[in-house]
């Protein structure tokens, strides 16, 4: 017998040495303890819960070591216990030592001593007839084996284990004859766990519970954990024995109902305690190893709760109350996973967790989605059952959790839906893949504008157009088809133009609510522009913020550029492109350098400077000339149209404007031959500025013409005329863009590829294309007041434009050689859209509304002296109704008050100034921190160098201790290198672990 046990002990040792064989431990245990179980099974099952409750005090008692002896004297405890306990207490002194890692390894190094010390106890207890007969051992075996298996069986990775789970009862029986072959059998099952045990982070205590001799011991760390964790979970249920008691007696029945009527469920509360505990630890743990390997963490999670938790826990309570055993429990069918013991166990362990931890744990389960969902449902159900017993406070916590959960869920599903309906996802991906992010930014911008227009259209449609439809008069004008281009004729009397809208209050039926068209018109347009304003502002701010955090600013990248050739590039074209990229970047870098040096001679400087001046003068002159031409043409056009009856004549002005927009930017881009900017980036910015100046000034001069000439000319319905003009401009611009995409770019490709090969395939000019978009959008914003349907038209145009540009891009272009920073470009585009364009629109519309007299016979504002008078009269009306006085107050004191705006401006200025100061401070901070990073890098290199030298010296000096030294060096090195790479860190730890026994 003693020899037998020696063997047993021996088997345990390898566990410590080599974790892969740790399961042996369990086996050994089974062997010895398995048999007694059976006889007890029937009796013990009847009364499982009393055991539970009894186990609790014991548990609590074991929190501190000194309590142990006390617990021994506890009358509740069976005689056998006293046998078992001494053994535990005897071994315990060793244990605290083995808790911290280094000690633990030390402990490993003397595996043979400890077993021998334990052995005597063991046989003793075994031989003791009481002991054998007592349920304790039975329990022990039962509880031990079962949970172990189940815990680890839950792993689909270990098919062998699964098959075992089906026959827990017979298994135990089989084992106990001492069949060693089973050892191996179990061996691989628990491997994952053992692997993770190898981690030094893990307290040694975790490992010990499994080993029989330590029965008592592991309680210390464990139970302490329990208390901590229970408080952190906010689950008072398990925090102290009292609760435990209640739980055991009253709760468990309920639990069983829900959880199971089976083996491991017997002590649900118990499991909660132990497992929950472990899980709590797990939560931290995976995070630590996450870097290293996810698999490890996973396997660890699943196997752990089963193995050490129950394995060790049970002994404590089993000793007294053994009967609980559900040993002979019929095996479960694997098909319904969560009903199986391990599933139940898992569920039980999940319940006490906070919802976040629980979700995390469930998510990490190696199961199908369906199973996970089921699992969560079950756990939630359990949770809700429990919640009756939870304190009010916890209820609130739960409530909050569920709310946050629901919120999270709805948010994620919403974003999912948005993602699925978002336009052109796939096309954009293709573009991004082929042409890079810079070209992609153009298309993103286009899509962004499209969203804007969809929004404006929906707003206009629902608040202006639909109401107008209900009172629409019959349109008597003739429709020929040319109207599509000119926008006149038939369209004049449709919802498209301002002039068609009624000024009356729409009221259907005598009792129905009234709808004031004047107010609806002005408020809808106002809301539309306000939304645009804020969304522009916010996206601009977001992009600026993202750009501000740009690490490139602080790193000198020139060496990286040169030293790091990408050897994976093997295709000839790709190599050419890469070379081109490199040269561009080098030139950019150089010009930055040159800026600092400025080693040009005076003559050269003079020439360059004069070239700049000439270029600027010429470009500005061209822009002004264009503006003047447009203005005089427009004035002349007015006269001309009065005499001319051809309906197509109105297209003259838009045609000229579009021609200017097409030709002049190309002239501008030729200036670079003269200017010779050294930095390609500067060239681009200069070009952009000139182009935007041209476009905006043309729109500006047209606005001036509209507001100063057309509006004051006494035409019958000047708002509609302006609307038509804008419509024509927009349409003509669109036609030109299309023609440019399909003809111009196509021709250019043919020329580049066939005729003048030196030109090569053209690159997609992002700046010019974006400016076209900005120009069109500006027109839409101005026109939205005069032609509420304009966003809809623009919507269609953008939609077509996307496909046209896409096709043209794929056919005619090559990726740009300039390394644009896409995020910066996007910021710049949005800024341009905001600053000259949108603010200009706001000014124009403000002048229109506050200063101009609406036409007398058409539109919603007919008969008023100014547009804004509709608001004034509305306020006047409201001030007679007591219920709406607050609106009047707000208007008078906030919107209409000069003082309020004065104070507001002052406050805003102060805040701006403060933030500016903060920003400055942060900039300095960032620079300092960056310097610090650089210094740390230097330190690191220095230390590594020193360590390497040291290592070499050691190698020479002492070849026998080579391994150890090297490890030390590595260990220190890893401290420094660890930041860069997580995996060496892990490897190091492992090697340390492996190495220690040897040492």
């Amino acid at each position: 017998m003693s020899a037998y046990y020696r063997n047993n002990g021996f088997e345990e040792d390898p566990d410590y040495l080599d974790y892969s064989r740790s399961p042996n431990r369990t086996q050994g245990y089974l062997k010895t303890l398995g048999p007694p179980n059976n006889p007890h099974n029937p009796g013990t099952r009847n009364n499982p819960y009393s055991v539970d409750s009894r186990a609790r005090p014991d548990y609590a008692g074991s929190l501190a070591e000194p309590n142990y002896p006390g617990s021994l004297s506890n009358p509740d405890y069976s005689d056998t216990r006293s046998d078992a306990y001494p053994s535990a207490s005897r071994t315990s002194p060793d244990n605290p030592l083995s808790l911290p890692e280094p000690d633990y390894s030390e402990f490993q190094s003397h595996p043979y001593h400890q077993p021998s010390s334990r052995q005597p106890d063991y046989p003793g207890s075994q031989r003791n007839p009481d002991f054998v007969g007592s349920s304790s051992s039975g329990n022990y075996a039962g509880s031990r084996t079962h949970p172990d298996y189940f815990g680890s069986l839950g792993e689909p990775d270990y098919p062998g284990a699964q098959s075992n789970s089906d026959h827990p009862g017979p298994r135990a029986n089989l084992n106990h004859p001492g069949s060693r072959r089973n050892l191996k059998h179990t061996g691989f099952r628990i491997n994952p766990y053992t692997d993770s045990l190898g981690e030094p982070d893990y307290p040694g205590a975790e490992i010990q519970p499994n080993s029989p001799p330590f029965l008592g011991e592991p309680d210390y760390p464990r139970t302490e954990d329990n208390q901590n964790s229970s408080s952190s979970w906010g689950e008072p249920d398990y925090s102290d024995d009292e609760n435990g008691y209640d739980y055991g007696s009253s709760e468990t029945p309920k639990m069983t109902r829900g959880v199971l009527s089976r083996t491991s469920s017997i002590q649900p509360s118990f499991h909660h305690r132990s497992d929950g505990n472990l899980w709590g630890e797990n939560e931290d743990y995976p995070e630590r190893i996450e870097m290293a390997s996810m698999d490890l963490a996973n396997s660890y999670r699943h196997s752990l709760p089963g193995v050490p938790g129950d394995g060790y826990v049970n002994p404590a309570y089993v000793d007294e109350s053994g009967p609980v055993r559900a040993y002979g429990n019929p095996p479960l069918s694997e098909c319904d996973w969560h009903k199986s013991p391990q599933g139940q166990k898992l569920i039980a362990s999940l319940i006490p967790m906070t919802s976040r931890d629980r979700i995390k744990a469930i998510r990490n389960q190696p199961r199908t989605m369906e199973e996970k969902r089921n699992l969560r449902k079950i756990v939630d159900k359990e949770k809700s059952k429990q919640s009756h017993h939870i304190l009010q406070l916890n209820c609130c916590v739960q409530c909050l959790h569920s709310i946050s959960q629901a919120y999270r869920r709805s948010k994620s599903s919403l974003s999912e839906i948005l993602n699925s309906i978002s336009l052109w996802q796939k096309t954009l991906k293709i573009i991004g893949g082929k042409f890079g992010t810079s070209v992609l930014s153009y298309f993103n911008f286009l899509r962004w504008l499209l969203k804007f227009n969809i929004f404006s259209f929906v707003l206009n449609f629902s608040f202006i157009i639909i109401p107008q439809f209900t009172v629409a008069e019959k349109n008597t004008l003739q429709f020929t088809g040319l109207e599509f281009f000119t926008g006149v004729g038939y369209f004049r009397d449709t919802v498209m133009y301002y002039g068609f809208y009624t000024n009356s209050t729409i009221q259907h039926g005598n009792s129905g609510a009234s709808y004031n068209m004047q107010l609806a018109y002005i408020f809808t347009i106002g809301a539309c522009l306000t939304t645009c304003f804020f969304s522009l502002l916010f996206s601009m701010a977001r992009y600026f913020r993202n750009n501000f955090i740009n690490p490139h600013i602080y790193s000198g990248g020139i060496t990286k550029l040169i030293f790091c050739w990408d050897f994976t590039v093997t295709h000839e074209k790709a190599v050419k492109l890469k070379q081109k990229n490199l040269s561009t970047e080098i030139r950019e870098n150089l010009s930055e350098l040159c800026q600092e040096k400025a080693k040009l001679t005076f003559n050269q400087q003079l020439t360059r400077f004069s070239a700049y001046v000439v270029a600027w003068v010429v470009s500005t002159g061209v822009a002004i000339a264009c503006c003047a031409a447009v203005y005089y043409l427009a004035e002349y056009n007015l006269e001309f149209l009065k005499t001319h009856k051809n309906p197509g004549a109105v297209l003259l002005l838009p045609f000229i404007v579009s021609c200017i927009n097409l030709a002049v930017p190309r002239i501008y881009s030729m200036f670079r031959l003269v200017e010779r900017y050294e930095m390609p980036r500067h060239e681009v910015y200069v070009l952009l500025i000139r182009n935007i100046f041209l476009k905006i000034s043309i729109i500006g001069i047209l606005c001036y013409y509209w507001l100063n000439t057309v509006a004051l000319s006494g035409e019958e319905c000047w708002e509609t005329l302006i609307g038509q003009e804008i419509y024509r401009l927009l349409l003509m611009d669109f036609v030109f863009s299309l023609a440019d995409s399909f003809l111009g770019e196509f021709l250019r490709r043919i020329i580049g590829m066939r005729l003048i090969r030196s030109l090569g395939v053209q690159e997609f000019d992002i700046a010019r294309n974006v400016l076209e978009l900005i120009y069109a959008q500006t027109l839409v914003w101005i026109g939205i007041f005069f032609c509420p349907l304009l966003p809809f038209i623009q919507m269609i145009m953008l939609f077509i434009m996307f496909y046209a540009k896409n096709v043209s891009l794929m056919m005619n272009f090559q990726p740009p050689s300039k390394a644009w920073r896409a995020s910066q470009m996007m910021t710049f585009f949005i800024f341009l859209l905001f600053f000259p364009s949108f603010t200009g629109v706001l000014c124009t519309l403000a002048i229109t509304i506050w200063r101009l007299k609406p036409s007398a016979d058409c539109g919603p504002f007919r008969g008023l002296p100014f547009f804004i008078h509709s608001i004034y009269s509305w306020i006047d009306t409201l001030s007679t109704r007591p219920g709406y006085l607050w609106v009047v107050w707000i208007y008078r004191n906030l919107i209409g008050s000069v003082h309020f705006f004065f104070i507001l401006t002052l406050i805003v200025l102060i805040i701006t100034y403060l933030y500016w100061q903060i920003t400055e401070g942060r900039k300095i901070m960032i620079r300092l921190l960056h310097e610090q990073i650089v210094n740390e890098g230097k330190d690191k290199m220095f230390l590594i160098e020193k360590l390497i030298k040291l290592q070499d010296m050691e190698k020479k000096a002492n070849s026998s201790s080579l391994v150890l030294e090297r490890r030390e060096v590595e260990q220190q090195g890893s401290l420094h290198l660890g930041e860069h790479d997580g995996s060496p860190d892990l490897r190091l730890r492992r090697s340390v672990q492996e190495g220690n026994p040897r040492a």
Binding site: I558, W565, D566, V575, Q579
Partner: protein, 195 residues
């Protein structure tokens, strides 16, 4: 050697080569096949001419340097182990490589060795330092004709100045490694075929 069978047994010292380079048996067989295909006269070694047939190398602006690296110590021929040894620098880093026995020498495809190989490409005279002159030559190769000589000189100066920490006017390996500290050298110096 003359036999056309692609069997591992044909390769001399296959085990020692495998141990040194970390290539799998299959890739060694493939490489050996390639080696013999490049070896036009069945002479058992490769000359510079043979290597220049490789398309990917011909395209690479640093191709000549790489070819040069096959012939250390001024020899005119490279045998199969030498051939594989150089290629091993381009083997992708795999996960199982990470938990190596610390006693074993670093594998040829480790980051450090990759860097060292790249460094050798720049360091023409093998004095352990990249001088300004060497830098300029590499730049000329890499950038092509689009940049003027003056600009290249500037950039070479600038590079040396940026990377040089001990002030000797040249870039040592440590300085080289440091300037590439956060770059994905492992990625850029890995060729997928070479498992």
């Amino acid at each position: 050697m003359g036999s056309r069978s692609s069997h591992a047994a044909v390769i001399p010292d296959v085990d020692s080569i495998r141990r040194e380079t970390g290539f799998s048996q299959a890739s060694l067989v493939r490489l050996h096949h390639r080696f013999r295909a490049l070896d036009r006269n069945k002479k058992g070694y490769l000359s510079r001419m043979d290597l220049q047939q490789i398309g990917a190398l011909a395209v690479n602006p640093l191709g000549d340097r790489i070819i040069e690296s096959f012939f250390p110590n001024g020899s005119q021929q490279v045998d199969f182990p030498g051939f594989v040894r150089v290629l091993a620098h381009f083997r992708p880093v795999e996960d199982e490589d990470t938990d190596q026995d610390p006693k074993k020498p670093e594998p040829l495809n480790s980051r450090r060795n990759k860097l060292h190989y790249a460094f050798q490409l720049y360091d023409l005279d093998r004095d352990g330092k990249i001088s300004r002159h060497e830098m300029l030559q590499v730049l000329r190769l890499m950038v092509g004709v689009q940049v003027t000589e003056e600009q290249l000189e500037n950039i070479a100066d600038r590079t040396v100045q940026e990377a040089d920490e001990d002030g000797d006017g040249a870039v040592s390996f440590l300085e080289f490694a440091k300037s590439l500290e956060k770059m994905d050298v492992e990625q850029k110096m890995s060729i997928r075929i070479l498992k």
